[in-house]
Symmetry: C2
Subunit: 246 residues, 2 copies
């Protein structure tokens, strides 16, 4: 499994992902799922991937090849993030089809999902979720974050914290809490954690972190969150019978 | 969907369930999923149900019919909670089979899952999860709670709070927080909430609550938890660049 989240706030974009891959419990590996495509100051894309690792690697490799070939269509010439999502979706669907029949005979899915976000020129910052079928949805002020992979455990804290006026740093911290909740609950999601913060209108990654399981910041957030939750729990209202025993 | 949780601590058992049922988004109903079978001081069972409503109603009706018939096999004569789980599992599997083919032709699953817990004589208090296939697993000191239905959103708080030495009241409060997190995240889970607390060695329900969406206790727990989480979030460690701006 995998867990990735992309967040759009007024101040910019946050991307976060785990690094665990597995094909059954005895094929567990570590791969970064965060891929950055940047033309200094002109355009920026951050891509997160979940699903079949061969599919997602093939898609990223093709995107990278195109990006360095001025004669090819690709992320270097799309006009905005929505066109980028559309391009990524077509590519992903075509690559899945190449191996889908062979994989289906082995009972394996070729499907992969992606989050792609960034900014092209002055068209604004956006983030999209690209489905395995190639279509996409974008984050909006009402739904300012998008998730792929094992999405449920980490959703409640995003729902409570993330809004359009959340600061970029708070959104990044919330993404780490969301990842931590998922890692605690699902053994197929694990560190190191990749984190990227992109300030609006800069078309570059302002901050980029890779946090190992024992990194002081990640350990501090884990401990702080655990203690904070326990304090919050102890402060909850009592039942009537606890106030008036007997 | 549905969300039910059964918790075993040293002090006794806690059961909690939501009341929403749905078959598609335009067939939404309200049914209690908590069913109590009691022989004053001699035996007690609390049953929670998830899955196909016709299956779970048929199972509960059959259990109730048996329970009131001294000549029938049933919960009134099993020797412990594990035998009760086994009996419930056989009954559930048989009832599912009666309609499985007809339902499969309509693309509907007959499956239902149950939590059954309680105490028979002096055999100890236990709680089991009964799978649709009829087999079961029991809660243990290492895994002191069992969930059925939409289990993921409400799992993180149970993992952080519930242990064998948790008080019955804290376990019940934690079950309400777990239900609230699920209700916030999944529209197919909803109030009123049923809650039962059973003290060890009493073989009776010590406390029984049904909380509507606007009940002061539930509203207080919702608000307290939301505010506590936000405080916990604000107290988390900062990134290096926040401490040393620039």
């Amino acid at each position: 499994m995998t867990y990735c989240v992309g967040i759009k706030v007024g101040a910019g974009l946050v991307f976060a992902s785990d690094s665990r891959t597995n094909a059954g419990v005895d094929h567990v590996g570590t791969y970064s799922k965060m891929h950055i495509f940047e033309r200094a100051g002109e355009r920026l894309f951050v891509v997160l991937s979940a699903g079949n690792l061969a599919t997602s690697q093939a898609v990223i490799n093709a995107l990278r090849r195109e990006f360095n070939d001025p004669t090819a269509a690709g992320l270097h010439q799309v006009r905005d993030v929505f066109e980028a999502a559309d391009h990524l979706g077509s590519l992903s669907y075509r690559i899945q089809q190449e191996h889908a029949d062979a994989l289906a005979r082995s009972g394996v899915s070729a499907e992969a999902s992606f989050i792609i976000g960034g900014e092209v020129g002055t068209t604004g910052h956006d983030v999209c979720l690209v489905y395995p079928q190639g279509n996409y949805i974008a984050a909006t002020p009402e739904t300012p974050y998008l998730q792929i992979g094992e999405t449920k455990y980490g959703k409640p804290i995003l729902d409570r914290i993330i809004a359009t006026d959340t600061s970029l740093d708070d959104a990044a911290r919330c993404a780490l809490v969301s990842l931590d909740s998922t890692i605690r609950a699902n053994i197929s999601v694990g560190p190191p954690l990749d984190l990227a913060l992109c300030e609006v209108a800069t078309r570059q990654v302002a901050r980029r972190l890779t946090l190992a399981a024992d990194s002081p910041l990640y350990v501090g957030i884990q401990q702080g969150w655990n203690e904070g939750l326990k304090r919050a729990f102890l402060a909850l209202p009592r039942f009537d019978w606890e106030q008036n025993p007997g």
